[in-house]
Symmetry: C2
Subunit: 362 residues, 2 copies
């Protein structure tokens, strides 16, 4: 295994742990002695049963979930959740609160509005281009739920701590920081995360849903859009995205057995982020785009003195085997996504490259 | 590569061509020199653009699609299509025809009914346990579309030729025989196929949709459930199931370059099916469950003289490296699924095994 590998700073799909990729590769023609690829075994077989149940058990342990929560593997990404959440959890007589912290939160809001649901945008950071997480928010006492986006990939902001909303349950899009740090699950009624950033390949969305939220599903919405459909069948009402679930299982195993859990993962992730933010804070060449108190530990966004320099930076980085440093096409600039699988060594190498680049061009 | 491999007769997820699995395995840590796995490259990268566009181009060539058709890669399987089709293509003032040929057609019908759409079941083979494809059907002259299920995995039946419905466009669930034979696409307004039987892993559904069907999408349905959303973004409105699309690309390449197109594939598939049906037709031990004129070329379903013998057959088969021969849990009996990737050699070996088993136990 001496394959050339780059330093992968992609925003998603993103880096996966090398030992996980190696295990997939090694067993790809003959999974666990089945004589079949994991892509060829039946989802009703003991092989796949072991995979999905182990994936669920590991997620439960890592997040310390009690029996009131179920773990589901769905399709359609976070984008389909934007619709499923109000369709399942918001009756016509109720209203839900939404906090707008950027592109993905905006999409969640627009989808609820498209479906003619009663929602209230209780706070927004749009006034300053979504560069911060709002504080001191007046949540509605009777909100059916409060929807937040835990980390904002495009603008590089993240909730440092989750808000105490008093009333309704929290519902969170954790696509881009799921499993990156420990947190208290109790205030959450529903958590969802597209896998392709921190825990697996594109094509699976993990949904963690509490019993009380499952009781809200109305009868007349499409079967595949009901959380109850999937909860009652252990995510196998229809054929699940087996390869994605398998990859998630291996990533959870890596998190538990190699990293040693979410506290350790968090400590590593903080070191990685500090490494890059320190370069920026000591420099007038690199300018962070997020307010200090709202900085993301997952997506480090920054600008250079000119767009030409940004272009040159991304190109030279690529030539030095740093991939994915171009900012999102909607905002420009630069972005280093440093999800769980991006190593501290890769981040340190990038920090050195940034310092050298500034020295030559600053 | 001397991995142990079995004869895979799974109904889905099912066998994939060995050269495809080998190519995935070999490039899994470094896709096309990117220094990343295919699961780690961005869906907005040139690497993935090449993958998805080549997959589409090959599907277009194999099916001889003209410019009025678009090829989409969606999530949620055929089960989500059961809802999307009436939601997108059937207004409240129109009615659609459905032909009920078994479990999956029944689910499509029930989903349209759940959504309170006007549909008419114009024919059904339920009277004899779905063991045949109805003939001489009186289709509604003004049907918005006519929905059929081209192949029925559970009961082992298949439309030998597609019906001339005169009025509205055909809509077909081709999940279990897509790309197994050539056919004239012109009468079809929409074709859908879960990948996990003939063309790829679980987690992608191919949808082929004609321009006139795209014009029917109403405004107030969820964004992710609109065909127009995906058609206008080349299936990249949100992150697509990249690994699945990549596998489909390789299977399409295998179909074009190794097999030589759908005519050749059809000839091979007919030989495979004949091989097993010949054993059954020369035997009083193995009894086919489908009417002769409706027999599937993909799923060969049969019974043995007793349930005990069926159990013994499946067990001895497994001990001899034949996997997946147990019938669907809803009907019992035996089933050999012989999709594109199951080789003629595997099928011939199974035929020999069946003859030997009969000799010993008949």
């Amino acid at each position: 295994m001496s394959e050339k590998r780059i330093h992968n700073f992609n925003a998603g799909p993103a880096a996966l742990p090398l030992p996980v990729l190696q295990e997939i590769q090694e067993s790809f023609l003959n999974f666990k002695g089945s004589g079949m690829s994991i892509t060829e075994v039946s989802h009703r077989s003991k092989w796949f049963d072991d995979v999905i149940n182990d994936a669920i058990a590991r997620i439960r342990r890592l997040l310390k979930l009690d029996d009131t929560y179920q773990v589901l593997f769905l399709q359609g990404g976070a984008s389909l959740q934007f619709a499923m959440i109000p369709m399942n959890c918001l009756t016509d007589s109720d209203s839900a609160d939404y906090v707008n912290t950027g592109t993905w939160a905006t999409k969640a809001i627009q989808e609820a509005q498209l479906l003619e649901k009663n929602i209230k945008v209780v706070a927004s950071s749009e006034d300053r281009g979504f560069c911060y997480i709002p504080e001191n928010i007046a949540y509605s006492p009777k909100a059916a739920y409060v929807h937040i986006t835990s980390n904002n990939t495009i603008k590089g902001t993240q909730w440092p701590v989750y808000p105490d909303v008093k009333g309704g349950p929290l519902v969170a899009d954790m696509s881009s920081d799921f499993m990156s740090r420990p947190f208290d699950v109790k205030p959450f009624g529903l958590i969802y995360a597209g896998a392709q950033k921190n825990i697996g390949p594109a094509g699976v969305c993990v949904v963690i849903i509490r019993d009380d939220m499952l009781k809200r599903t109305p009868k007349n919405i499409p079967t595949m859009l009901k959380y109850t459909t999937h909860a009652s069948k252990n995510s196998m009402y229809n054929t699940p995205p087996c390869f994605g679930v398998y990859t998630i299982q291996l990533v959870m195993k890596w998190l538990e057995e190699t990293i040693g859990g979410l506290e350790n993962m968090d400590a590593i992730n903080r070191k990685k982020a500090k490494c890059l933010y320190d370069v920026m804070d000591k420099s007038r060449f690199y300018q962070g785009t997020a307010d200090l108190s709202s900085r993301s530990l997952m997506n480090v966004t920054f600008r250079l003195p000119s767009e030409d320099l940004e272009k040159q930076f991304v190109q030279e980085a690529l030539a030095n085997d740093f991939g994915g440093l171009k900012g999102h096409r909607s905002v420009g600039g630069c972005r280093a996504s440093i999800y769980n699988a991006t190593t501290l060594a890769s981040v340190q190498t990038l920090a050195d490259f940034m310092i050298t680049f500034e020295r030559k061009n600053g």
